[in-house]
Symmetry: C2
Subunit: 551 residues, 2 copies
């Protein structure tokens, strides 16, 4: 199949007679080459739950990393009596993993650590309720008995938000996995909080709709977790944020109160929109058991293109042109630097989409209702960026398989980078002009301190940047051979000061969890923090919900 991509593009380019847009001569353009020959498939989705059979002595306890954290003495220690209550309430043996009255450390381990091997807790009890009423009974009991809890969805988060720190009880939503309803006229889907994103999206695909959020961990991430994290993901540019798309939430407050706001209406202005506090609340004021969400129609035509570009300046120009030429069909504009693509190549062994090395890569996706129109728009964009030499090289996916493979080069970065030991991850909002400067400055900084290099004597392997260009959202990643205080101190709080000066965000979409908690002051004023704490105290006066994290 070598050559098919370039042939198609040439055909596309030839087919443009009808377009009234003035076109550059083809001789001006660097030709888009044929390089699309996947060597072996690279799945774009992962199950991020750690394999319990893996040795886990490699993961340090979170409390070792954050020695200043002390177990809150307000919280009770688990007793046999507590276990008896939970077993009698949840009934089923599969619903309780009990490490209190017996040894269950191997069964508990996957719930006690994150997939990045960065956070590890010491929970002795995991509860898996199967209904909102069971969640209510659990929380009410925990609140009355001052037992701290951690809500856990797919545990695919990036800031340690869903991993226990001490002996908090894990409340896993895995068994609340029913799709409750879908209305094809309005596009409104109602699900349990534990439904996996990909399951929902497959269900919607059969009904010509799509889940309005997409991210690399979709094979394990749960919808309740998406909402609790206010996940942004790959298509926010097109479909907007969860604050707009989530129409209703059913949840349980710490005292067992069922928060019944599972509206299925596009519009409903009847009182304070309290459900918004759950969106991005990271499980600190309640547990999300049900979600009602507006889903767009699935596009008939989806195109994916992948480019190499000579500089970040060129990436910005390409983005500007994409907005002009692609307009309403632009559904993703993703940035990847050379190092990020090198890691994906190294870990997967897949043949690269483009020959040669380029300092920057972009992935552009269009989604529209008319294949011919979308191809024409894309073509006019391609001609322009090639003619103006804004991009150096590119390929265009010819079918869904190729589109998924191209997406693999973007979605696979996190997993590929995580392969070497660990990763310092920063998820930042930055004015677009300065987006990549931070990566360069971080690289210089670690280099000048002798902390980054190719051989094993350096703690850090590289400094990598990628992200959602369209949202001004950069993922700054520093893969390390092991987590060390030296590297951490070289980056933090320097990176947060950098962001603060530019009025960016220290957490664009990953949330605060335990990773960002201590840096919130770089982002929010004392006034805002005081107001947030008021809300926490209002809903969770005993502080049992996901303690030691967030604000």
């Amino acid at each position: 199949m070598s050559g098919s991509a370039s042939k198609s593009l040439a055909r596309l380019l030839r087919q443009t007679r009808r377009s009234s847009i003035p076109r550059p001569q083809l001789t001006q353009c660097q030709s888009i080459r044929a390089s699309f020959e996947p060597v072996r498939s690279f799945s774009v989705t992962y199950r991020r739950r750690s394999d319990p059979s893996e040795p886990h002595h490699d993961v340090r306890y979170t409390t070792d990393m954050y020695p200043s954290l002390k177990r809150d003495p307000r919280f009770a220690e688990l007793t046999d009596e507590h276990i008896q209550f939970f077993k009698s309430t949840l009934g089923d043996d599969a619903a309780v993993i009990d490490g209190v009255t017996k040894d269950a450390s191997d069964d508990l381990e996957p719930f006690n650590r994150d997939w990045m091997k960065k956070y590890r807790g010491r929970a002795k009890l995991v509860l898996k309720p199967k209904s909102t009423e069971e969640v209510s009974k659990i929380l009410k009991y925990c609140n009355e008995n001052k037992l701290a809890v951690v809500p856990q969805g797919g545990n695919s988060g990036l800031v340690g938000g869903s991993v226990p720190v001490f002996d908090e009880i894990v409340i896993a939503l895995t068994r609340m996995n029913k799709i409750r309803s879908f209305d094809e006229i309005s596009g409104i889907l109602v699900v349990d909080g534990g439904v996996i994103m990909e399951v929902a999206d497959n269900y919607l695909a059969e009904r010509n709709h799509l889940y309005p959020l997409d991210l690399g961990a979709k094979g394990s991430a749960q919808i309740g977790g998406n909402v609790a994290t206010n996940a942004g993901g790959l298509r926010l540019l097109r479909y907007g944020s969860l604050h707009g798309n989530v129409l209703g939430i059913e949840g349980v407050l710490p005292d067992g109160t069922i928060f019944d706001d599972l509206s299925t209406l596009r519009k409903n202005n009847t009182g304070y929109d309290l459900k918004q506090l759950f969106i991005g609340g990271e499980g600190t004021i309640g547990i999300i058991t049900g979600v009602s969400i507006h889903c767009a129609q699935r596009s008939k035509a989806v195109n994916v293109a992948y480019f190499g570009l000579p500089s970040f300046e060129h990436v910005q120009r390409a983005y500007k042109e994409a907005k002009i030429h692609l307009g309403e069909i632009l559904s993703a504009f993703e940035l990847m630097d050379a190092r990020s693509q090198g890691f994906v190549h190294q870990v997967t062994g897949n043949k690269r989409p483009l020959d040669g090395d380029h300092p920057f890569y972009c992935l552009i996706e269009t989604s529209g209702s008319n294949t011919e129109h979308d191809s024409e728009k894309l073509e006019s964009f391609l001609e322009y960026v090639m003619g103006e030499e804004i991009v150096s090289d590119g390929v265009l996916a010819q079918d869904e398989t190729q589109a998924r493979q191209l997406w693999g080069w973007r979605e696979g970065i996190t997993e590929a980078i995580g392969h070497f030991g660990g990763t310092y991850k920063y998820d930042l909002s930055i004015p677009i002009k300065e987006l990549y400067s931070l990566v360069e400055e971080t690289r210089e900084r670690l280099d000048s301190k002798g902390l980054v290099g190719d051989d094993d004597s350096y703690p850090a392997i590289a400094v990598v940047g990628y992200g959602h260009m369209g949202d001004g959202n950069l993922h700054l990643n520093v893969p390390v051979r092991k987590y060390t205080q030296e590297v951490e101190d070289a980056i933090e709080p320097w990176v947060y000061e950098w962001i603060q000066k530019r009025r960016g965000s220290i957490s664009a979409e990953h949330g605060l969890g335990i990773a960002k908690k201590k840096y919130i002051g770089y982002q929010r004023s004392d006034t805002m923090l005081k107001l947030m704490k008021q809300i926490k105290d209002l809903y969770d006066p005993n502080g049992i919900m996901n303690p030691y994290k967030y604000i």
Copy 2:
């Protein structure tokens, strides 16, 4: 220019050689006729502020309509000393309309009544701060002195939310009317709360962007008021709700605290999204002084079409087909019944866009980046709905003037209906299938009680339905010769019970204000109401913010 609309459509229809969509024979379609000849222009925007020179004895005091309302004795009465404080704080004479130490009733009247002539208060003081700091000083003082206040934007609301009930102090945002910044790359606009929608949209138009909300009152409605009401408007279908588009809010809490969350980032997951409580909070927990909002690119191509249809069943089919054929360029799908269009014709005297009477009318708007593509999509849609006889007749605007005129037939309804005395207005979310049944049932109900008819002996003139089909949002309007208890009792609470049975919303986009306050129990559970009251008590323990309204 008679004939231009039909000629253009015929030309469009002939120009479809390139389209691969199978087309019905033109002979199958009822031809789209030429009827587009505006007799006199009908402005689509209004200044809704009442003319103070009008006699106002025609408007009853709100307290006469709601005799059970009593002035809250916790609130202080205004004194000379208070007035002195405000005058010294705001400095400028124009900033204080003082009806306490002197007679200023004519100057106060426009702030004391709404444009529908339905609500009328007895405020003796209007304050017009020009900065957030001034708002802060005012509120702090009012809070300490237990002086009740009503925040007021353009006063174009529909539920009496911005009109005082007793002697609350009106805080008018009119002088906070600066556009603070706009970033053309990100599309993020930052404005004072008192900026008028249309001013912002004109400013954005010059920069190829658009304000993501549109509504009939845009010439007077202010952005702070939009946000406080969570206004939905005409283009929610395309651009989404304010919960998604508003990125930051600066506000003042009752104790004078400045809520500084005026983020200009598309993504920012750093703590509870408290600003969401202001969106739709109707000025009951604070005053919005600044708004940061994401604005989409302005579409190069905008098309507007207007149809006559034989039944509501046909309207639903047209909507389904519009979603299929127009996909991502569909930006509005509005429903208007025969009576609504009759009123616009009667009041404006404009020539109707279509000959003959049709039971239903729709207005469809497309907005896209490519004129040719959009025309092709619209054409394929038109061919289909004409070929299948889903629509009986239609016209297509040939230029922006005609587009605005067609919009006038939708946007002018509220104003036209309000011409006769008064209107009982219900703004409801209903599952689309049953959307129009409510209008029919209400008509039958009033008819059977002998309350509606053409001559002056009947209190009600008609029962009218129109609204945002795409959002499942019906405006049920009952224009009356005068407001009577009889008509009100025939409709309420029956209409709310009807909605409750179908799990709709008793206020889709207008909010609660004073009009819906007592019916909130049809919408929200006791649990949710209790949680909302907690929030109110948390932020406004003295209850000074917009009392007697909301929940």
